[in-house]
Symmetry: C2
Subunit: 379 residues, 2 copies
């Protein structure tokens, strides 16, 4: 049994109330990226972890001291209730099991919305990309999200401008479920311009964060949030991203977690597609171009087989090889003779005669005064 | 020793004149795709092969009978000389050794132009793509060819409309060498609109074909020509191509021959990029976006290392991790206190104090009446 699994078993001997209290305390006092960077907390059951943080053991948790001092659990619980939100912890039916794959899983999650977080994550897909997206990027993201929603996928994203917004909107337009993972408290609409979008998501989907109410969006928190997005779903698609971008951190997290990673290409002349191109070229991301590609890659094996892309067949596809050659050698304007056709097409006279009959029956050649030629419509 | 190598050794005992005569006879009477489809000719030395064809051995070469009857070697040689062309056969200094990797190499090559075919092929790159290219495709092809020419690569292509034309033109614009491999006789300018381009290529590069003068461009001949393009150079780049296209046959040939295969992505909304996307996704083609990518992939190891693509660094990149967090937590309008910053940034008071000094020195924060805030320029 792993240390984490052992810690989990140990923790589950306590009541939910006790577990909730200690996890709320940790979430409110230890910054997510500090957890990642503090190996001492890894794999510890939260009771042991909280003891270290509360007592500033070994002077390793001095950063959290001011927060420990300011902590008011009752107020935190009341504020969460006032917001109509709920707190989900491991062991709850709504806990998304994917986040347990993280080295430092969230202590708890604040959840707002009508859908069940765990259920929504089951058949889901994360879509991330540039805030400064191009019209091409938002169009493609919107159409992918719309189509995948129609096939029963929940779209997970970060409610940011650009690709995130287009992805959420695409899912909502299809009447589907979408999850917004936030880099701030559940009480903060960020970016403000997306307040209306977040209300819509709350109605038919879920808003989720590991940060307590009142937490402002800060740069490090976006990176921590990105790892949540990667962990919650079985796969991530990057639509547009610069070479240096938050989406790259989500992609890296997805790869490390063994999640499927895909990227949508774009014009090589567009800096917004440089990120996806690099992910495809150097990071093992699968190139995806449409809903079929994504459904095949991310869907359950057997239920979402992609359609093989084929061009349409033409009349000449159904011809035998010698007849194709005969047709290719056939003049367009002046007719020619069987002997000349045999030389130019490199066929026997017998093959030419048999071929002319077949091509004539198919309406591809005609007999004129000077000999045989292609019919005009087929040129 | 392989059968082909043995046959070659056997053949080389004869004089060049004798070898040239028998190879010209075979080239003039056996269609390239018939050679591919006739296992009996594979690996045979040309003297033995010509005996089979000439005598229609076992009735297997009846297709060539009319051509054998019409063959006039003297006239063929005279015609070649009149055109200012030369015939190159294995053993000649100008023979491009890459084509010997083909299952059915050409019997001989008609060559026209100032450059040495073998030398030009040494450091070369095939660029192929759709005739019905988009402005995006021709722009990218032209720029790639121009840039790669500037780095000493010969550009091999097929002189067709669209991507081929843009590639040849890009190479010529850079004053580089380019090779046009034709699907017709060396005396035929196809497509006619490219007659001027072909003249330019002849002046500073090479035109090459395995078909005798007078051979018209026919569909099967394009496929045979495509295998030559793939074989002549160490790698092939597909710029734009539909799902069903001649470029795909060149790509397949390149893969089978163990040549490097690359493709340029484009908008997923453009059918002209569906071919490259499929090659990248399903056929192991490397995604390339610019001259650096191609030079790295196709160049000699060590001499053409690509530059690692990086975004520019900003002032805050050079900050320590705690200072970055402090900057992120810093308010923009009203100033705040060290105590509040410690809580919001999750840092110790000591880290905040030290950080404020560093950020202030970098001009990133300022002291106002209400406390510390970010300076306006950095937001």
């Amino acid at each position: 049994m792993t240390a984490a699994a052992e810690a989990r078993q140990h923790e589950l001997r306590e009541t939910r109330d006790a577990r909730l209290a200690v996890r709320l305390a940790l979430a409110a006092t230890v910054e997510p990226d500090d957890r990642t960077m503090t190996p001492r907390l890894r794999g510890l059951d939260p009771f042991a972890a909280w003891e270290l943080v509360r007592t500033d053991a070994g002077g390793k948790f001095t950063r959290s001291a001011a927060r420990v001092k300011a902590l008011r659990l009752d107020a935190l619980v009341a504020r969460t209730q006032d917001l109509g939100a709920r707190v989900v912890i491991p062991g709850d039916a709504e806990w998304p099991s994917g986040v347990d794959d993280l080295v430092s899983p969230p202590y708890c999650l604040w959840v707002l919305g009508s859908a069940s977080l765990a259920q929504a994550c089951e058949r889901s897909l994360s879509m991330v990309g540039a805030r400064a997206a191009t019209p091409y990027g938002t169009q493609v993201a919107g159409e992918l999200a719309y189509g995948l929603s129609g096939r029963g996928f929940t779209i997970v994203s970060g409610a940011a401008h650009g690709i995130d917004t287009a992805s959420h909107r695409g899912a909502l337009a299809a009447g589907g479920c979408t999850i917004a993972a936030m880099a701030c408290g559940i009480d903060i609409a960020y970016p403000l311009a997306n307040a209306g979008l977040l209300q819509q998501i709350e109605q038919s989907g879920v808003i989720v964060t590991e940060l307590p109410p009142g937490s402002a969006p800060q740069k490090q928190r976006f990176l921590s949030r990105n790892r949540l997005i990667a962990a919650m779903s079985p796969g991530t698609v990057v639509v547009e991203a610069g070479l240096r971008s938050g989406s790259r951190s989500t992609a890296t997290a997805a790869s490390r977690l063994g999640r499927l990673l895909a990227a949508v290409p774009g014009p090589v002349t567009s800096p917004a597609s440089a990120g996806p191109h690099q992910l495809i070229r150097d990071c093992g991301a699968t190139l995806v171009t449409d809903v079929d590609d994504c459904a095949e890659l991310f869907g359950a094996i057997g239920t979402d087989l992609g359609t093989v892309k084929r061009a349409e067949t033409t009349v000449s596809d159904r011809l035998d090889e010698p007849d194709k050659r005969l047709l290719d050698a056939m003049p367009v304007v002046r007719g020619t003779t069987i002997a000349k056709l045999a030389v130019s097409a490199c066929l026997t006279s017998r093959e030419v005669t048999r071929g002319l009959a077949a091509l004539h029956a198919a309406g591809l050649v005609e007999r004129v005064e000077s000999g045989w030629r292609r019919t005009q419509e087929t040129c």
